[in-house]
């Protein structure tokens, strides 16, 4: 009897996360779809609308979608090379003693609460951009990109490093024996062999960047314009929700949930891509 009962308890625990997922997704979709289903708002106007003025019943999030995409892409352009080279350095080149210092440092970076990244951005990056690049305001797309690029480093480095370390030793030996240089071996043999793992690292970093909220809210400026340059202040999807949820009620609140649906769709898409990469990698 006890055996059976404890089995149930464990099953219940295991189901908790599934239940949580269903509840969250269900709740967000229920709340977020309400304005379109019951109140006659057009979903296309919501996605492609340029104006977000909740007090005047205008809900368009196109500038925010663009801001989210630009910020994430920019962070990738900066973060991926740096992260990848760090991973290669740690796995292939660095002497054990050096790796022993850098590795924990990178992992510690992952443990820093995101709001601290934001404070760092606000106290260091924003004034730096203002004073040294002559911007009228440091709160900008560029500041967001810089903060996100740093934030995604640990994800990219740890996952990519594991993937590179998993490449069998004989690949390297074979390549070196054929007369290839060590660097040539790394880029022509090891990295291609670890390709699926590295792709996974990039997608995970992407997920981290697109979902980040607290750090971004402090450095983005949260303006409601369609970003056309790196110096514009922007409002990504996540900060729109966090900024206004506290004050919102009625349709405004539901529209914030709808913003959450769009964000959630991006994350789902990423996970789908990640799953594809995983199955293609054929471990």
């Amino acid at each position: 009897m006890l055996e059976k009962l404890s089995g149930r308890v464990f099953l219940f625990c295991a189901l908790l996360s599934v239940i949580s997922l269903l509840l969250i997704v269900g709740f967000v979709f229920y709340k977020g779809s309400h304005p379109f289903v019951a109140e006659g708002y057009s979903f296309l106007d919501f996605i492609f609308g340029m104006d977000w003025v909740p007090s005047e019943d205008k809900f368009g999030i196109f500038p925010m979608i663009v801001a989210s995409l630009f910020a994430t892409m920019g962070a990738l352009i900066l973060g991926v090379p740096v992260g990848l080279f760090t991973a290669i350095f740690l796995a292939e080149i660095a002497p054990k003693r050096v790796a022993k210092i850098i590795s924990p440092a990178v992992q510690l970076l992952a443990g820093i609460p995101s709001v601290l990244y934001g404070v760092f951005g606000l106290a260091i990056i924003v004034p730096f951009l203002q004073n040294n690049l002559g911007l009228v305001k440091g709160q900008s797309l560029l500041a967001v990109i810089l903060v996100l690029a740093i934030m995604m480093l640990p994800t990219i480095v740890t996952v990519a490093e594991t993937a590179i370390r998993a490449v069998p030793k004989m690949y390297r030996e074979g390549s070196l024996a054929l007369g290839a240089s060590p660097i040539g071996t790394i880029f022509k043999v090891v990295v291609p062999a670890a390709k699926s793992g590295i792709m996974a690292a990039i997608v995970l970093g992407l997920g981290r960047a697109i979902g980040e909220t607290m750090a971004v809210i402090l450095v983005a400026g949260n303006s409601l314009i369609l970003p056309t340059s790196l110096t514009d202040s922007v409002r990504p999807l996540t900060t729109n929700i966090a900024l206004e949820m506290g004050y919102a009620f009625g349709t405004h609140q539901e529209m914030l949930f709808a913003t959450g649906i769009v964000l959630f769709s991006f994350i789902l898409l990423l996970n789908f891509v990640l799953a594809k990469i995983g199955s293609k990698g054929g471990k």
Binding site: P54, K137, I225, L243, G246, F249
Partner: protein, 281 residues
């Protein structure tokens, strides 16, 4: 795989204990607020009224040890919603109630007045604006400080988020709507955030509550009138608004009523002026 009997029982007991204690806690709270030794008054709402309410609650609790007051700063609109739905006993608002909110049977008590002040970086030479100029700045008609007698540099507008009581009150008095606000305005959440943004950017202009005034920013005169409590009371300074406590009659407990009475007493109003807000009497 076989489980050790003792471990299994241990886990189950822990589990039960956790569930029971969780139940016990909620039950305890229930009795606590109705008849128990310590009554709790829950207050939520405006981030502008919040700091004042905290100070008042602190002094009030020193005198009435049997009453506990919880203040949550979540914004005027949310506070009003909470007071309407009964989630909070009292809601705090830094703007007048809207028609549809009044229709829900809310009673309002003005506990203090507050002034809103337009602030700039201390290095900014512009020290006086007309209400019309303020409007032109925030709607993007005027975009350079030189147009206002200052240095030749771009104006960076900093505003609060849509739904904030301070922003509603400011827009109503200055006379522009959310849709007219210049698009590339920086949106900062909270008075403190606006102050930090303005204090670190010589291009910036924003608005904050009187309570938040300090040396890090420069305060502007409106139509030649200094932003002081005295000028608000004499109705010379135009950018002012009431601080409201709102409640539903049926949700107000004795403890809540005592707190409101205390705020309106001379002791309470002294604290109001000490906190930088403007007493009602």
């Amino acid at each position: 795989m076989k489980f050790n009997r003792k471990t299994t029982i241990g886990i189950l007991v822990l589990f039960l204990a956790a569930i029971l204690s969780a139940c016990g806690e909620t039950a305890g709270n229930d009795t606590g607020s109705s008849s128990g030794s310590k009554a709790t008054v829950s207050i939520s709402g405006s981030t502008s009224v919040g700091p004042l309410a905290e100070k008042l609650a602190e002094k009030f609790k020193d005198k009435n040890e049997k009453i506990n007051i919880e203040v949550n700063q979540i914004g005027s609109s949310a506070g009003i919603t909470n007071a309407t739905s009964g989630v909070s006993e009292i809601g705090m608002s830094s703007r007048d109630l809207k028609e549809e909110e009044k229709a829900n049977g809310l009673k309002e008590t003005i506990i203090a007045y507050d002034g809103i002040v337009v602030v700039t970086h201390p290095s900014n030479k512009v020290k006086d604006l007309t209400l019309e100029q303020v409007k032109q700045i925030f709607t993007g008609e005027v975009t350079n400080w030189s147009q206002l007698g200052g240095e030749d540099m771009e104006i960076v507008v900093v505003s609060r988020e849509d739904g904030s009581g301070s922003r509603d009150a400011f827009q109503e008095i200055v006379g522009y709507s959310s849709g007219e606000l210049i698009r590339n305005a920086i949106i900062a959440s909270g008075n403190g955030n606006i102050k930090t943004t303005v204090a670190t950017n010589k291009h910036a202009v924003g608005f904050i509550s009187f309570e938040y005034i300090d040396d890090s920013i420069s305060t502007l005169q409106i139509d030649g009138v200094e932003a002081t409590a005295e000028n608000v009371l004499q109705q010379k300074y135009s950018l002012s608004r009431p601080f409201l406590f709102v409640h539903k009659e049926e949700n107000l407990t004795d403890a809540g009523l005592q707190f409101i009475d205390y705020i309106l007493s001379s002791d309470g109003q002294t604290i109001v002026s000490e906190a930088g807000a403007i007493p009602v009497k």
